[in-house]
Symmetry: C2
Subunit: 136 residues, 2 copies
């Protein structure tokens, strides 16, 4: 795990510091799309004394280098996701849960649809679904 993280950071020209490794590792280990606050608490257990400013800086660096993506919800905090391949999110109503949804068949369907139906003056780069749902 550490070796892979180190390689990825180095490949982007970033210095490999324990703070960055800890942040990236915390994200890779979480399927919950944690907020910065959550990451701070997870990382602090392992490395007490790490400062919040540093975690924010690490997160921003990782986002800039496309190792991590930022996702927003209706609340006021950003959430982070270390899985950057194209996927969709299911927002569970009345909760702060955000669930990943991978569906290649759907992606193909959408690609085909927009290949035919083009939107004037716009070139589509990416499509993400926000599925709003609730538990049955």
């Amino acid at each position: 795990m550490y070796a892979q993280i180190k390689t990825k950071l180095a490949a982007k020209g970033l210095k490999v510091t324990m703070q960055r490794v800890a942040v990236y590792e915390a994200l890779l280990n979480s399927k919950e799309h944690p907020s910065a606050e959550k990451i701070i608490s997870v990382v602090s257990e392992k490395y007490p004394g790490i400062s919040t400013g540093t975690i924010y800086k690490s997160l921003e660096t990782l986002v800039d280098k496309n190792l991590v993506m930022k996702i927003k919800n209706d609340g006021d905090k950003m959430r982070y996701d270390a899985f950057i391949d194209s996927h969709h999110h299911i927002y569970i109503e009345n909760s702060d849960k955000i669930i990943d949804y991978h569906d290649d068949e759907l992606n193909e369907l959408l690609d085909n649809y927009f290949a035919k139906k083009n939107i004037p003056n716009i070139q589509i780069e990416n499509i993400r679904l926000e599925i709003i749902g609730k538990y049955i």
Copy 2:
């Protein structure tokens, strides 16, 4: 215009104040999904002296009553949209533009798709596309 707004507010049990009317009117007149800041500047021209706190409160009230929806973007400010029928948004890369995208054919396609393919334990309430694109 005023009559319709008044009716809608009253139908939700809200008192019809000039501040609320002004905020709602500003949103109905804008296709730009304005931020609170933008709404404040538009409303202030017509009604100088209106306070920012009141505008935030009006926006929240309208959102609570489902007359307006909040939309998120990658920046730090919320944006607001008075058109609450189901539609999608095109986010223009490297700009703060958000363009509405209505497409009944697409909606039908998605409805059919998810009617067949159901997601375990989840009941879908709504689907919104975030289309990321750029001007050609």
